[in-house]
Amino acid sequence: MNDPHEKIDQQRRRFIGTAAGVTTAVVAPGVFLHRVATAQSEDGQGSSQGATSEHRWGMLIDTAKCAEGCDACVTACNRENGLDLQTKPEGQSEAKWLDQRSAWIRKVKLQDEVSGRITNLPLLCQHCEHPPCVDVCPTGASFKRADGIVLVDRHTCIGCRYCMMACPYKARSFIHSEVEHKLTVAPRGKGCVESCTLCVHRLDRGEFSTACAEACAQDGHGAIVFGDLKDPDSALNQALRAQPNRQIREDLELNTGVRYAGI
Amino acid sequence: MSFLSGFYAFLFYFAVVLLIVGLVNKLVQYARAPAPLKIPTTPAPTSSGKVALRMFREVVFFESLFKGNKWIWIFGWIFHFGLFLVTLRHLRYFTDPVWPLITFIQPFGIYGGIAMVVGLAGLWARRVLVDRVRYITSPSDHLILLLLLLIGVSGLSMKFAVHTDIVAVKNFFIGLMHLQVNPLPSDPLLLLHLLLVAVLLIVFPYSKLLHAPGLFFSPSRNQVDNPREKRHIAPWAERLEQE
């Protein structure tokens, strides 16, 4: 298996270009307000630096450590992003609602067809370097930030669900009904598509962790290592070097930011 | 009260009075003049309900114009429909609370504004490019197009470039409706927009803009085609009969 870092480095230049392009395209209309972009808040909370291409955030998930029956990461994500505040519309059947509610991270249980070995893993947006969801999105609402996080700008998402068709991991959810309760950090409303943000609000605030990784560690499993793929010394890179790992659906060559060990 | 607010307050009272007086005068003239003969352009509807339908189609779809000339129709219709939407959107400056329907339509008014300007541009192009229309065009026809175009452009600039204080504008006009003068923001575009609007109100009853009420009075469109069934006679013609 190739060393993933090399590939990331190779493609780095190209990807800076695209990210910068997207950003200016979206930002350009507010010409006379450009000064705003650089203005600092007095309260000094969080970074006004913003996302840069010096980082690329990613994860390594060690399926061997992921415990059967555990769903700490799922619960944590739901709490962190207000997904647990969703309510089933009145009159909807339970089964259908499960299919329609938003979920950013899911527990998957696999059995090897030959050996019969059971594997558990959490499946979330893989933050692909070449995300099909971004390629197909007509308005550019799906986009990749400079630091590799794939997001939906829900101000320009028209709810066409093409990205959901395109995502090979079924990582995305469509908001099927009105959302009454939400968090300030995670606005959410009917008619748009969303997916794991890699807890971007934490990152931007300068906290380098995700809720899922944190919860997994807290529960003592430590199956998820979060970090900067571009920092050779990061815990993530150390872990990647230490363990053979792969991408799910490697054949598609998406160079995912989330890697799995043990499948 | 600043001079500016006072001036515009006066201007608008003046313009509206002129508009109403002029228009009422015209409408009375039209209404008073009898239509002594049945002259609907046939095939014409045979009952007044159907006449209303015909008028509706004329007013809303410009049916006859459609038959006559597709280019004029398309631009004319774009312009008028745009104007209609803009007018609806503008109602928000004069009603408080704003009617829910207006609130709903309000955002479409912006597209209406764009459509209006596009339509006007097309109509103007025809005045310059088509020899027949150039021949029948007099300076006033150009001026009215210019006036409307400037109103549209100044309005759109306020929407897209240099914003104005909508709340204050609305307070000013609501105030006028209650006979009090509230301060008007002194943004140049707004002042231009309003000045031109006042001009429009003033010229309305004295120009070809009378086509709007005129259509409703046009005997070849608003008459019922039933002369054999119902005797139709004007007062002055009846007097002839007495002689």
């Binding site: 299919d99 527990k107 249980k109 999105c137 066409c160 | -």
Partner: protein, 413 residues
């Protein structure tokens, strides 16, 4: 060459208004359904996070590709110079625009946020085929309108050929673009093939022509003066339809063969052809039988193929078959589980229909169906009003007036 006279549709006013009333009612119901869906959210549809495109998309895609196919008649006449089709060219253009508008309307009203349509028109991601399609669609309309103009306005006649060629290329691009919406979904087995684009082109020919023939027969029949539609003309059109239908079947075969050939897709093929439950039924009964073999049988039948009612029925079948084909292609392939972990069985995937294992559930609900039908209503309304107020329909298609073989010989006069 004799001049072709076009006349506005002269249907009995009472019938016309009746027809409009019916269409308006259909559209009204469709609109109300859309409003309802938007108001409460998509949870009232059968769609979910696995089957994200549902019945509205069946109708929308069907209408959009039919639009392209409907224009085929005009192309045949002005690009390939078959004068026999010339009198049909205008109607063909009108139908193309009408069907496209109907299809797009359905697509737009099914968006999660149709109120942001303006966003879709001002923000483009040029790597998205979908964004290109927005251009393709609006451009198509502009091109067809220009094309119609060159046909109707004598000063424009001289451009008809070149605009016609352009329109034809555009049309092929449009169908290919629509096909590519699926073709680009590399992640999905069913779509990951180059054959999809040409198959869509052929499907568009078939469906567009079927709709065209029905509309033509209805319009001519309902005209107060009962415009003559020659037997030979009709026969020619229906034969052409049969040819296209055969082409669709051929591509269907090739499609599945290529899939079987790539061993990794074997699962999908066997699922659709054998184990897919009602998707299998839709495929065999809808797509193949009703949409393919039956109509071909009718049209090539020596007796039935000459009966107008049967020809109309064959057209109807092609349309039904087309909807079935769309259902299989669009929904079947979403329902089929995504192969994420080769060599593994998915025992659990967090939520049903999630990452694999079982086929995803999808049961259409009434509002979606009504929305789709509403789109059809819009297309027909535009057509009905169009032929009534403008000169789209030729005065006669009697065989002695329109020589159906006019291509072979150069015309005398």
């Amino acid at each position: 060459m004799k001049r072709i006279i076009y006349r506005e549709w002269r249907i009995e006013p009472a019938r016309y208004w009746g027809l409009l009333a019916i269409l308006l009612a259909v559209i009204g119901v469709g609109g109300a359904a859309a409003l309802y869906m938007e108001h409460v959210g998509h949870w009232v549809t059968g769609m979910n996070n696995s089957v994200v495109w549902g019945t509205p998309h069946i109708f929308a895609v069907f209408l959009v590709i039919s639009a392209s196919g409907a224009l085929n008649i005009a192309s045949i006449s002005s690009v390939f110079g078959r004068t026999a089709y010339k009198p049909l060219a205008r109607l063909s253009g009108l139908l193309a625009v009408a069907l496209l508008v109907g299809g797009l309307l359905v697509l737009v009203l099914d968006l999660g946020r149709p109120d942001r349509l303006i966003v879709a028109m001002t923000h483009y991601n040029f790597r998205s085929i979908f964004a290109w399609n927005i251009y393709l669609y609006t451009g198509f309309m502009a091109v067809v309108i220009a094309y119609l103009w060159t046909m109707a306005e004598r000063t424009g006649n001289k451009y008809t050929h070149s605009v016609g060629v352009f329109a034809m290329l555009w049309r092929l691009a449009l169908t290919t673009g629509t096909g590519s919406i699926f073709g680009f979904l590399v992640a999905r087995d069913a779509y990951d093939t180059a054959i999809l684009a040409p198959m869509f082109v052929l499907m568009s020919f078939a469906y567009g022509l079927a709709i065209f023939i029905l509309v033509l027969m209805f319009a001519f029949d309902q005209d107060r003066e009962r415009r003559p539609l020659g037997d030979q003309m009709l026969r020619k059109l229906s034969r052409l339809l049969a040819l296209f239908v055969a082409g669709v079947l051929y591509f269907t075969l090739v499609y599945h063969l290529t899939k079987v050939y790539g061993a990794q897709h074997y699962g999908l093929v066997s699922w659709i052809l054998r184990d897919g439950g009602y998707y299998t039924a839709l495929f065999w009964i809808g797509w193949v039988l009703i949409g393919g073999l039956f109509p071909m049988g009718i049209i090539y039948h020596p007796v039935l193929g000459t009966r107008r009612a049967w020809i109309a029925a064959a057209c109807g079948m092609v349309i039904i078959g087309g909807l079935a084909a769309m259902a299989v292609i669009i929904i079947g392939s979403q329902a089929y589980p995504m192969p994420m972990f080769p060599g593994h069985m998915v025992l659990e995937s967090g939520v049903p229909g999630g990452a694999g294992g079982l086929p995803a559930p999808y049961v259409p609900t009434l509002p979606e169906v009504l929305l789709g039908i509403g789109g059809v209503g819009v297309a027909l309304l535009i057509t009905a009003v169009g032929v009534r107020v403008l000169q789209f329909l030729p005065e006669s298609l009697a065989d002695d007036i329109i020589d159906p073989h006019a291509t072979l010989r150069t015309s005398k006069a």
